[in-house]
Symmetry: C2
Subunit: 422 residues, 2 copies
Amino acid sequence: MTLESDPKEFESRLEAIRVWEPRVQALVDWDEPAARKRFSEAGPGPLAGWSLGVKDIVDVEGMATRSNANFIPWRPAARDSALVEVLRARGAFVLSKTVTTTFAYFDPGPTGNPWNPDHTPGGSSSGSAAAVACGMIRLGLGSQTVASVNRPASYCGVVGLKPTYGRIPIEGVFPFAPSFDTLGLFTADVADSLAAFQALTGESASPSLPPIRVGLLPDQKVEAADPEMLSALAQAGRRLESAGFQVSSAELPSCCEEAHGNHWTLVAAEASVVHGGLYRVFGDSYPPKLRALILKGGRVVAAELERIRSHRTRVREEVGRLFGDYDVLLCPSAPGAAPAGTEATGDPRFSLIWTYTGLPTLTLPYCLSQAGLPLGLQLVAPPNREADLLAIGERMESVFEFSRRHPLGLGREMAGYPTDGE
Amino acid sequence: MTLESDPKEFESRLEAIRVWEPRVQALVDWDEPAARKRFSEAGPGPLAGWSLGVKDIVDVEGMATRSNANFIPWRPAARDSALVEVLRARGAFVLSKTVTTTFAYFDPGPTGNPWNPDHTPGGSSSGSAAAVACGMIRLGLGSQTVASVNRPASYCGVVGLKPTYGRIPIEGVFPFAPSFDTLGLFTADVADSLAAFQALTGESASPSLPPIRVGLLPDQKVEAADPEMLSALAQAGRRLESAGFQVSSAELPSCCEEAHGNHWTLVAAEASVVHGGLYRVFGDSYPPKLRALILKGGRVVAAELERIRSHRTRVREEVGRLFGDYDVLLCPSAPGAAPAGTEATGDPRFSLIWTYTGLPTLTLPYCLSQAGLPLGLQLVAPPNREADLLAIGERMESVFEFSRRHPLGLGREMAGYPTDGE
């Protein structure tokens, strides 16, 4: 941890932005002088000099939170969101807002995947994931209502932490479906994720860990992952076993099948409430996917919501029992690599069950696909065990060695980070 | 029930509006030609010719739903709310939108109490309750998130039905706190409430009722009602006993005490989500009470919401057990008569517990206070037993005989209704 900021590190971020931003478009209204001013005004602390990319649904004082909905005449936020306030108090500074899909749903912003700009970076936290991948920022803030942290982390080849539901206060964040909305962190490696999480919560990992019991979970009770992703998961299991982890197969309870439909019904109903007011004024300008969701959600009746919430409680309990046999579960972060095209943001189905249950997850970059795009694997832990999740993730990261096999000059190297041996 | 509309009845509504609207201001942008057109276009049905007053948070096709928030550039609603759609299909027509407090919270609109314009009509369904009291409309639509049907019904001396939570679809209604928001009906008497409820749901009351067990409930685990109200309740109990009802004292479980604080916390959190979007654009114009609630609600954390929802489930179960001993509970609808002043809408505490638990309630006008203002009593039934509640209410109404002792020329007589013996 650093207690004073490092001007060289700051300059390396600006350099990464100069190189990558024209191609990737991860930032909202990039303003170098303003960023420089915020850097110079930041205080000391465990995150001193950390450059933040703030998903543009998260309030930063004095900036309008635009949610990629420029058809609405937003006012500047009167104060920082709770998350940004704490990070600033620990020494971090806001380098830039980052691109979100419109209102954090499926209508994409301009951001391209840093590994191949003709592919999606994933959504909805597109800009934060892509900006970390390019070394533009050290810490990207995102949020997940279905898969919006883990999917872009996997597609962009970065580390994505989605803590337990409710773990990080959501105050000052534009909601989407409040019973799921969870703030998350993007970083180049697990050490940074752990440092940020500790700075936020004061929590440390257990100093030593017994042999870790890993449950491999290829099947998420929904359409299967790509063969490439399933091979990667199986290979990861073998490598972890060689490295001393206790690896065996795990299976989700059958009640998880219904979670997929239920999740979307509840999200639609909640989004319809969240957007009810704005939609009554600005609905003509709403993008098509969100508009359809809002109309669908308005028709969900109370009894259906009650039934789904009971099911969610039951799934939480049944899935929770798996952690009697495993310390963590390991599964794909997404069905495969980022799909081609930037008009859609990819399939969220492999993170949905963990948002439905509110469990903490950590996406680790694992390898590159045949097409040269990252494939991420997702670790899942019991509620409120983020510190252990991160400690286990750090050990796995050293087994997987993804960042050291980075072929495109992205990430740590690109940003001028010291590499091993320097 | 009528199957054809009655032009004389329609003209009597217009006459009531001419006489009372200048003093009471219950209607939003009263437009007689438009109302006449809608009357002439209405179809036949069990509610043929019924004039609707629609609280201005409920969508009517082609009209902007303004929620007493004229600082927002609303668009006209694209379609009717589900409730209005069904009522129109049964023959009713929209006579006018009615005044709501701003967004159905505590910042009042212009409406005065028909019994004394220097007193509040109650809120938030101020206009619908007052318009029914004056005979301007036959059926007033309202909504209740804390006490917004029962309190104005009591203050205005009309019948107010709040069905079970979720019983009437809320689609096309601007929400306030969706886990409580419940649509309700205002009518001059119980027969009209029953007719409207049957037309909405197809449900009939039991053809004959055994002796009714009434639990008198003066204490709602919160600051006591006015002595005048408590005397009225005790007297009502004696009169019901004389009329053949089985009357005894009931007591709420002690867990209800905590409901009052919990309810407000949950309402604040949900209202903060509902208004999050609009507040980000129009917050500078928001009225002070709602603004304070939104800011408070944004700070409620997920764990607190979880705790409150568990408590609510427990209170629902414990209060539900009372219905092993009683068919209905009878309690004050409000602490007393409508307070003086129109800058506030009165105290909601005597309906809160029934909104917290989602139970159906029916307010019956009982008598006039010393100051000549109505005092209403509130019947409470088990979930989804509205038809029985209304049948019991109709029998009690004939014992109480409120409408026949009406001193001010309001209500049925005012509206040109036939009275007994005509």
